[in-house]
Symmetry: C2
Subunit: 463 residues, 2 copies
Amino acid sequence: MLEEPEVLAPDPDPDDAYALDIKSVQQVRQAVEEGDREQLIALMEPLHPADIADLLEQIEPGDRRRFVALYGREFDGDILSELDETIREEMIGLLSPQVLAEAVRDLDSDDVVDLLEDLDPEQRDAILGALGASDRAAVQQSLTYPEYSAGRLMQREVVMAPEHWTVGEAIDYLRASDDLPEQFYHIFLVDPKLRPVGKVALGKLMGSSRAVALRTIASDDFRIIPVLQDEGDVAYAFNQYHLISAPVVDETERLVGVITIDDAMAVLEEENEEDILRLAGVSEEASLSDTVLETLRGRATWLFVNLLTAIFASFVISLFSDTIDSMVALAVLMPIVASMGGNAGTQTMTVAVRSIATRDLTGSNALRIVRREIVVGALNGALFGFIMALVAGVWFGVPMLAVVIGSAMLLTQIAAAFGGIAIPLILERLKIDPALASGPFVTTVTDVVGFFAFLGLAAAVLL
Amino acid sequence: MLEEPEVLAPDPDPDDAYALDIKSVQQVRQAVEEGDREQLIALMEPLHPADIADLLEQIEPGDRRRFVALYGREFDGDILSELDETIREEMIGLLSPQVLAEAVRDLDSDDVVDLLEDLDPEQRDAILGALGASDRAAVQQSLTYPEYSAGRLMQREVVMAPEHWTVGEAIDYLRASDDLPEQFYHIFLVDPKLRPVGKVALGKLMGSSRAVALRTIASDDFRIIPVLQDEGDVAYAFNQYHLISAPVVDETERLVGVITIDDAMAVLEEENEEDILRLAGVSEEASLSDTVLETLRGRATWLFVNLLTAIFASFVISLFSDTIDSMVALAVLMPIVASMGGNAGTQTMTVAVRSIATRDLTGSNALRIVRREIVVGALNGALFGFIMALVAGVWFGVPMLAVVIGSAMLLTQIAAAFGGIAIPLILERLKIDPALASGPFVTTVTDVVGFFAFLGLAAAVLL
């Protein structure tokens, strides 16, 4: 069906071009609260399932309950696919078994798998029971692959052709089949053992005459994904090689499915999100729809680790109690040294963690990059050490204090640079996620070196 | 051409599935140093341009120079497209004009535009001069659109059909055209004024019989991108609505180009990278190929801002010099309060900045989320305040000190939660990038509140 195109005018506030505006959210709230089913359906009609999902995430639980009751059979399986996990579970609990069955029946097998992954066994069985026998078998087969593997990500609906076919044969075959997937972009060429040996882009197929052999117009960016490959690697391959779709093979190299770029894009987005949150010490499952308790749990773990490192740093300070006691200016200035070290360490660490994730920092160039970071750290240390020496000298009028803080800054900045890059590299070597674990170690290094250098130098020189 | 498929065995170390291994990088280095052209070409032959680009980024400048001299005419335009900006400029300076001309002539118009954007005028003219007249005109037209707009991102090669055509007419037309784009996934339906009114997926086209009207098999996820739309919004739309390709229209609503998902994926990846680095206080142009001086500049700005906030925090401490003087335990413990506040603030801020970027945090739910964060902050404050009170009580044996640090922790955690979410929201409202600017403000809030609460309470209660 041809719908009215939705022309999106250039927005004066570019960030809001696709955001749900407050007004329409309020209209939905009102329709839900007044129990106005017709109005609700009219409001939902122009919205994409992804937008409806966003809307459900934004309204309160009570309104969500009323929404589901009112919207009834209109509730689409695609909305479930688009929801945050937390809200999704809540919604599945709210939907009547009939509505749920109808909703999931329209979904592609990979979307059903995605839904099922995070459900408790009871909800899982309810959904599996709603599927037809062959869909259920396909979904159950996918679930036998490990989580986060290519097997979970792929669609099982593949369009393939024998490698010796011509364009004409392929077109006739496509014309005759009545169960082509909703979206496909390539025909995969297979040998007699069903092993993929090439792929032909549909555009290329359309532009070639009937007599042309398929193998002569096969794409040259052909890459095969093993069914057990980690989804992060799959996403990397799509991004690195600009793939649109790629065949997935099982252990016997037989074609068992296809992964398309939109699935890869979703994984990439998820992994980036995870890295950003982990770097900030937030558990990766964080979402705005989490409850207070879930949020608390996601935050407290890292705060607890940080508490231990902070207490350790305090212990270092306590070693110099007498020094501080005889010159209180040290207590005033010491947080500056540690804070500058912590920030420089975080900068280097973030660049290192990201470069490891994007495969730009490898064994081949690690040494050179470590060297560069240390040089940068030393220059930053010299620059800011000099500035702080001036500030401290003028502020407290003790020339030796200026020398002490300048030198301590220099040492701490070098330690921050070294720790910031060496710690992620070492963690990576030990197969520990550097995004998750680097932070506490780097902070410990910069705090301890910062306090030790500053107070230790002060004890040696000033007293 | 049908090539040997590259089967990627499931790797025991999943992160290395696609990384260049050290051994092959060393082989290339060796070939380059020995001036062995045949060996170099043989080593490059199986590699994707993206991998060659990564390799060039990993070897030293001297080796890059030798590589270019040796590789000569084999140097492909796609390698340039895949390179980091810094290295790209370096390579363009190294390539002979003939090789450069040949390299860019094979590129799509959008890739040439992407190359030109970051070059100085001289290099720009050299590349434009190498193009044929019609390609040059297309590229120059694209360059008239603002940077980071849909106009810069789109390809000008579009496949379109009158809206009243049938499947048969479309197929005959495609068969007859000899300049179809390399990759296309939809045919755009246009009205007599060349305004796009729908799109037909190629797979759908192939699966329908010749008499079917195109408009009856048009996709229902049809969205039009205005040529001036920000590329970040374009990427958001592709991600949110699972688009594969979308038509771009000019101010008169005429179809002028098409954006495909791989371009959108690249933008999304870039924006995420920018956000991650900005959150850590690193200038967004950072890459591992930057020189020491570029790196220094990218880091020093934020360190300088941090120095100012740290000095400000020190000033707060100095107000309580006498208090610290009379109880040195305060100097030992005060960094713990500030550090815990800083970490909690960073957690909340990161979640807030990301939720704003993904349009999950909007005017409709801001108040509710702020409330939730404050509750979480208060609970974290109570929890860690209690733990720290115990630790401080046992460590220093002063019960009132335990009460003071516990209360200060509670206050600081609440302030961190409030600042962590309110500051990004306010910056967003003021049209300042929250990823870039939130950090210093949040740190200032947590440091100042932390030191003030702890030392102020101590001054009031203990002395």
